[in-house]
């Protein structure tokens, strides 16, 4: 297994303008309470990482209970809304539209340059290393338009991609990319699109109602030796461990599953995947902690953490962030997993 460390070359502010983000969070809270909590029956679930049912409520956000698994320490929402309610939320809620129509266009070029161009490079490097000659890729998850564009831009002979998320028709409206098919598809129907060489599941494990079904679908969709590339927010990361319920990154419905490192490994191993890479190349942990401590100085923060983020310079912050990456302790996790041949 390998792990990857990257430079920090942007600020969170560049991709998430704070004023806009405050408004987005306010709308999300309203939408969750006014739309999601009343949308169908909520279902309790075991830990999405290790499947243990031993857990306890650790905090609540927007009327939803977050549980911590006694076994693998993953944190997750239970009971939770059904997938259909989530799809409706992402298609029609005011907050989702605000994200699509306000925040994304404003930050589009920064996201392209700082997030999606490197991600596309990484995807292509992974393919060169483990699956040269790939012919079919399946893309699940939301907001992958820039990634798909960058893949097409960087590789003129790119494999055929099928973008499957339930709002892809909205996200890709007016976009014509060669070799890209838009086909919203439920998890259970994904295997019919295969066999695929690569299955891209970025930023979906954390917001998916049924992770088990998603990973099972990836397994069934991939050809033997095919690759699953996934990224997610992980509760094992520095900012989430320090900030915990005060973290601005933890809110429903985008963060239903905050799997720990151990939970993630258990999840993918249970489905027979071999882990080729497990990295936490996040660049925003320290900045997030710094910002929240600054906003809530009266909260009982660990003295050392408060001292470091308040008194030390940018170089020390960058060094700490690099340390977190090197030892897989950032909250942004990504994995390369291979289906056995």
């Amino acid at each position: 297994m390998k792990t990857v460390v990257v430079d920090r070359d942007f600020l969170e502010l560049e991709i998430k303008p704070y004023a806009r983000l405050e408004e987005y969070r306010r709308l999300t809270e309203e939408d969750v309470r006014g739309r999601l909590l009343t949308a169908g029956e909520f279902t309790p679930c075991p830990c999405p990482g290790c499947r243990s049912t031993a857990s306890r409520v650790v905090f609540e956000k927007s009327g939803m209970a977050y549980l911590e698994c006694d076994h693998c320490r993953s944190v997750y929402v239970s009971p939770r809304p059904p997938e259909e309610a989530l799809v409706d939320f992402y298609r029609n809620s005011r907050s989702a539209r605000f994200w699509r129509e306000q925040i994304l266009p404003e930050t589009k070029e920064t996201r392209r340059a700082k997030v999606f161009r490197p991600r596309a490079q990484w995807v292509l490097n992974v393919l060169d290393r483990y699956r040269p000659g790939a012919r079919l890729g399946i893309v699940v998850g939301y907001h992958n338009g820039l990634l798909v564009e960058e893949l097409a831009r960087q590789e003129s002979h790119l494999f055929h991609m099928i973008v499957t998320n339930a709002i892809a028709d909205i996200e890709f409206r007016g976009s014509e990319l060669p070799n890209v098919t838009i086909r919203p598809t439920s998890a259970s129907a994904l295997p019919s699109l295969g066999p695929a060489d690569i299955f891209l599941a970025f930023d979906i494990v954390d917001r998916c109602a049924d992770v088990e079904a998603l990973v099972a679908a990836a397994q069934a969709t991939l050809a033997p030796g095919g690759l699953l590339l996934a990224s997610t927010i992980s509760i094992s990361g520095f900012d989430l461990q320090v900030l915990w319920d005060r973290s601005e990154s933890i809110y429903p419905p985008e963060r239903l599953n905050l799997l720990s490192t151990e939970g993630l490994i258990a999840l993918f191993e249970r489905h027979g995947f071999e882990t080729l890479e497990f990295s936490t190349p996040g660049v925003l942990d320290v900045e997030a902690v710094q910002r929240v401590i600054h906003k809530q100085p009266e909260a009982p923060w660990p003295r050392f953490i408060r001292y470091v983020v308040e008194k030390r310079d940018e170089d020390a912050m960058n060094g700490l962030q690099e340390y977190l990456q090197k030892y897989r302790l950032s909250s942004f996790a990504r994995m390369v997993l291979r289906k056995p041949r």
């Binding site: 297994m1 390998k2 792990t3 990857v4 460390v5 990257v6 430079d7 070359d9 340059a113 490197p118 490079q121 990484w122 292509l124 490097n125 060169d128 290393r129 040269p132 960087q154 590789e155 190349p281 090197k326």
Partner: protein, 350 residues
């Protein structure tokens, strides 16, 4: 397949671990005239003479892990007895030694002969090679390597057989630099010109403790090596400059971990439309946890044997070519004239 290990020092013990864990291989004998009592394995026969070991066991594969002086004789005997051979690097003391081995190999085309250029199989090298081969990063412009040891405790280092010219045939260049030269070929293919400078800068040994080598090939690619026994810190660093990126392999997973955590740094040349600060591009650093190079290489040999495939990696051809470079450098070092690059390639056997 039955195996024997000839030479049970540091490398012989590593090979035993590989054989013991690889399905289909069985270690049946070990030969070493100086077996250390505490290290003698109890699960196979022991021999003092390699010929007895090979005659008695009739192995399928012979692992040659001897000091350089004995390498050609053991390889040749094993081949003549119908055994496949895995031989540690370097392939003897000099060009003549590898030429002798190849002469016998050519008389036994059904037998497989592989040399221990295991660095090709290190995870960071494998990853770098895959990135280069994919072509996305452009053509290799240049390659530069530093490979060196601390020298360790002085007396032990000076007394090592590796620094005894009659046994080793050369110093740090032959012992360790050979790996880096092999990697240069692995990435760039053949080189046609070589320029080398040797020095015995510090240690009281009759061989070089530092070598500086520059190579150039027909594609205009230039390679530079510093091989040293006076770095005072175990160091492995291989840099590749490509048209659209640079790759740096640093550290090397090893038994002791003394070369540092193996990593591959990938840096992309900023595009014209990117605002990355000039001279400080974004980098990705890939860390690796596990060295399976020993296993991968032996598995490759086993597959060649099982499937009757030619050995195309770490072959006798690779060994010959790298020894041609080293021979040219040693020849240059002995000449008193001005330093000029010499042509290499096809100096050995056709």
């Amino acid at each position: 397949m039955k195996t024997v290990i000839i030479g049970y020092g540091y490398m012989g013990q590593i090979r035993k671990q590989v054989v013991d864990t690889m399905p289909g291989l069985k270690l049946c004998g070990i030969c070493d005239p100086f077996l250390v009592p505490g290290l003698i394995p109890g699960d196979c026969a022991h021999y003092q003479d390699y010929r007895d070991a090979i005659d008695d066991v009739r192995p399928d594969i012979v692992f040659v892990c001897t000091p350089n002086r004995y390498t050609p004789d053991v390889c040749i005997y094993a081949l003549e007895q119908g055994c496949h051979v895995f031989c540690e690097k370097p392939p003897g003391r000099n060009l003549t030694d590898i030429q002798r081995i190849i002469e016998v190999e050519q008389k036994h085309p059904d037998l497989k002969l592989m040399f221990g250029f295991n660095h090709r199989y290190h995870p960071a090298i494998v990853e770098a090679k895959a990135l280069v081969e994919a072509g996305r990063l452009g053509r290799i412009l240049w390659i530069r390597g530093v490979y060196g040891k601390s020298g360790g405790r002085g007396k032990e280092f000076e007394a090592s057989w590796r620094n005894d010219l009659a046994i080793s045939g050369g110093g740090i260049l032959l012992d360790q630099g050979v790996h880096m030269l092999d990697l240069f070929r692995f990435f760039c293919g053949e080189f046609q010109e070589v320029l080398g400078l040797l020095s015995t800068a510090f240690w009281n040994v009759p061989v070089e403790d530092n070598a500086f080598v520059v190579l150039r090939n027909d594609q205009g690619q230039i390679a530079q090596l510093h091989s040293s026994a006076t770095l005072w810190k175990h160091t492995f660093r291989l840099e590749l400059g490509l048209e659209k990126a640079y790759l740096i392999v640093e550290g090397l997973l090893s038994k002791t971990g003394s070369y540092g955590r193996e990593k591959l740094i990938i840096g992309h040349r900023p595009g014209d439309d990117e605002d990355t600060a000039l001279g400080n591009p974004r980098e990705e650093i890939v860390y690796f946890d596990k060295d399976l190079s020993w296993d991968f290489q032996v598995r490759e040999l086993v597959n060649c044997i099982k499937d009757s495939l030619p050995v195309t990696d770490s072959s006798s051809h690779d060994a010959l070519r790298v020894m041609e470079v080293i021979d040219a450098i040693y020849t240059q070092a002995q000449s008193k004239g001005p330093l000029v690059a010499v042509s290499i390639g096809n100096r050995g056997m056709q």
